[in-house]
């Protein structure tokens, strides 16, 4: 029997036994380990619905161990990994491999997203039931858009049997071409041909119609544009089964950052950076519930592939900065931490249909974070745990820091003692 006592949190003392919260309040019991959390607040640990851990196949960018460590640093106890690995995760054995690797590393739980179509080719449905039975929680060709309307429509209908989502990467490649940022005046002035908003929105609109017609569940990941938010809002109101997330960086950065940062490829991702108006719209969507979650889209790429803004790989790392970045911005906007917990914990917990986690309650799994909401810190390059350093937020100053992360009572990250 292993016991742990966290003293003096904002919710009192918390007694944990075998990874389960046993008691909350004023506790004077002894424990194997005692943590003094004076001045800290306790939060349920976070879940990231969209990360790339690159294993198997691209271990030079990231692997399940370094990805897990980054997640623990950021306060996450669980992540959903995207299937665009090599080979892509379109077979049950690969799902099992990822879950087992995460168990070996033993820092975060991985809930793999498997391919929506075989080999991510957009042609034939993957083996949804067999993949789900092995542990997959949703299906996506992330990085590729599922273009074929008939394939997607059948997938949505078929998946109703299991109440599982298709996670769409909404991108019309005829419009995005090889462009590196969103269409805006800033981009045009700075010599960058932009991807129009319609590259995302036209797919989202089409898919909303399919979701409404079929009753199937579609989840839009990394929603980035104003019109996307409006269309999702409309179709949710019409009763379609739609859920959506956006990323921390799309809530903060617009395309004017690119030139200001000397065209650093760390400001290139898909969806691309857009305008201040889009940022406002995303926040509004989060507030009114149109956007359900915030997910990092942690996408590690090695230095050599991030040298040239136009030609470079798309994507940035984000697990270590996700919560602090959004928290720093949210408090400026007068939003409270409960609002963020809905987006980082409660919704993802429901999305994954998990029980006995996501709240600080007796009998719940001790997936917890100790958070210092006043601490100011700088995300210097040497803090990066990921194998790749492609963050646009290097040397940014944040307010609020996770100082301890715990998964099932095990401390996975700590700055205490």
């Amino acid at each position: 029997m292993k016991t742990l006592l966290i003293k003096n949190t904002d919710k009192g003392d918390i007694f944990i036994e075998n990874g389960i919260i046993e008691e909350i309040g004023k506790i004077s019991k002894q424990a194997d380990k005692i943590i003094d959390a004076s001045g800290l607040i306790v939060l349920p640990a976070f879940i990231d619905l969209h990360v790339h851990f690159r294993e198997p196949g691209y271990e030079y960018k990231e692997d399940i161990e370094t990805g897990s460590k980054s997640a623990s640093f950021g306060g996450f106890w669980a992540v959903c990994t995207m299937p665009n690995t090599n080979p892509p995760i379109d077979k049950p054995e690969l799902v099992i491999y990822q879950i087992n690797r995460a168990r070996e590393v033993d820092l975060v739980d991985i809930f793999p997203i498997a391919c929506a179509t075989k080999n991510r080719e957009g042609k034939e449905m993957a083996e949804y039931y067999l993949l789900h039975k092995s542990g997959s929680v949703g299906f996506s060709d992330d990085g590729n858009c599922i273009y074929n309307t008939s394939v997607l429509r059948n997938a949505l209908i078929y998946l109703k049997m299991f109440d599982l989502p298709i996670i769409q990467h909404a991108e019309d490649g005829n419009l995005s071409l090889n462009y590196a940022t969103g269409w805006s005046f800033d981009a045009l002035r700075d010599g960058l041909l932009g991807i129009p908003e319609s590259a995302e929105v036209s797919i989202i609109a089409r898919d909303c119609i399919l979701a409404l017609e079929t009753g199937g569940w579609i989840h839009f990941s990394h929603v980035s544009s104003k019109l996307s938010v409006e269309i999702i809002r409309l179709f949710k109101k019409l009763g379609a089964r739609i859920t959506a997330d956006t990323t921390p960086h799309h809530l903060v950065l617009d395309s004017s950052y690119i030139k200001e940062n000397n065209y650093s490829p760390n400001f290139k991702m898909y969806p691309p950076l857009r305008t201040k108006e889009d940022i406002e719209s995303l926040w509004q969507g989060l507030i009114d519930g149109t956007i359900d979650a915030i997910a990092s889209d942690h996408a590690p790429h090695e230095f050599e592939s991030k040298l040239d803004f136009i030609e470079s790989e798309r994507g940035i790392i984000g697990l270590q900065t996700a919560f602090s970045l959004v928290y720093s911005e949210a408090i400026k906007r007068g939003l409270d931490i409960d609002f963020l917990i809905e987006k980082f914990v409660s919704f993802p917990t429901r999305f994954l249909k998990l029980r006995n986690t996501g709240e600080i309650k007796k009998g719940y799994r001790a997936n917890l974070v100790l958070f210092d909401k006043d601490r100011e810190w700088i995300f210097s390059e040497n803090l990066i745990i990921s194998k790749s350093k492609n963050s646009p937020f290097i040397n940014w100053k944040f307010k609020g820091k996770v100082v301890l992360t715990m998964k099932d009572g095990k401390i996975t990250y700590s700055e205490i003692e």
Binding site: S184, F185, L188, R189, D190, G191, L192, L193, I258, K259, N262, Y263, S264, P265, E304, L307, D308, F309, I310, E311
Partner: protein
């Protein structure tokens, strides 16, 4: 902002005073070019690397001669003969060449902004010889110099830039330069190649050539990349020429002493007709001549 003389990546690197200083010195440089012995020892012992990742005749030869007239030694590099094919990164190429004793790089590259990004990794000075669809500052300077030479001022002139603004680094640098020097700028081209957002640069936008060149002092014709047709920016070259080609009979809408400019190389009969290109209105060859003088002036300030 005063020019640091380490980088010329954008017209924004220069103040108005810097620009006129460059023009002033270019005047003296032009005089050197006309001498029977076209060489001054000013920058003897300096080494410049011309690094062209995109095809270029004019700009590259212009820089090469500018260097020679100032006694600068040059080494050069083109995509075809590089180790790029073996997969060396652009940055590694720069780091290697820099170690060979280079003081300044003149770089043309197809990626907008790449020089802004890589400069922190190397010590050498850098002149932008054209980066993607972003900027081509030495072209803008030679254009400004050419206008000044002919009109004795740039302030309050009406300059109409015609063509594919969207993909043009020349247009972006020229808009910046002409704005800085107080000209009134009109952009003209098909809407697919001239997004309305350009208005925010403080210019007028027109989709009608006659209106756009009405009372113009300068018509600046951009080169049309013929492959834009296959990307569906316009239906045919023939239709483009009909709508936006500069023809003799349209010049009557402009000022009597209008001047015609083009950065080259021209597609005769597409964006400009021969009877305009070869007319007295045309300063196209003066631009080429001034290009060498302007580049000498820039190299002088950056290397002296």
């Amino acid at each position: 902002m005063k020019w640091d003389r380490k980088y010329l990546l954008s017209i924004d690197d220069l103040s108005v005073e810097d620009i006129y200083e460059i023009f002033q010195t270019a005047k003296s440089m032009k005089e050197i070019i006309k001498r029977p012995i076209k060489k001054v020892p000013t920058l003897r012992g300096k080494n410049v690397c011309l690094l062209f990742y995109e095809p270029s005749t004019r700009t590259r030869m212009s820089f090469e001669n500018a260097c020679k007239f100032l006694s600068i030694d040059t080494i050069s590099f083109s995509r075809e003969t590089s180790s790029l094919k073996k997969g060396e990164t652009f940055l590694d190429t720069l780091l290697n060449i820099e170690k060979m004793g280079v003081d300044l790089f003149v770089i043309r590259h197809s990626s907008s902004g790449i020089l802004h990004y890589i400069r922190k990794f190397i010590n050498s000075k850098i002149v932008n010889g054209g980066d993607g669809t972003n900027e081509h500052p030495t072209q803008a300077l030679l254009d400004g110099f050419t206008i000044l030479e002919n009109k004795n001022r740039i302030e309050s002139l009406k300059i109409t830039i015609v063509g594919d603004i969207l993909h043009s680094r020349v247009a972006r640098s020229n808009i910046r330069l002409f704005k800085k020097l107080g000209a009134y700028i009109v952009l003209c081209g098909p809407p697919t190649l001239l997004p309305k957002e350009f208005e925010n640069m403080g210019v007028e936008i027109s989709y009608n050539l006659k209106e756009a060149i009405d009372n113009a002092d300068v018509i600046y014709v951009l080169r049309l990349q013929l492959e834009r047709q296959s990307s569906n920016f316009f239906p045919t070259v023939r239709e483009y020429n009909e709508l936006f080609g500069i023809k003799k009979d349209i010049l009557k809408y402009a000022k009597k002493d209008v001047i015609i400019m083009h950065p080259g190389p021209m597609n005769r009969g597409v964006e400009i007709d021969s009877d305009v290109a070869d007319s007295n209105y045309s300063l196209i060859l003066n631009q080429v001549e001034n290009g060498v003088a302007i580049r000498m002036s820039i190299l002088y300030y950056m290397l002296v």
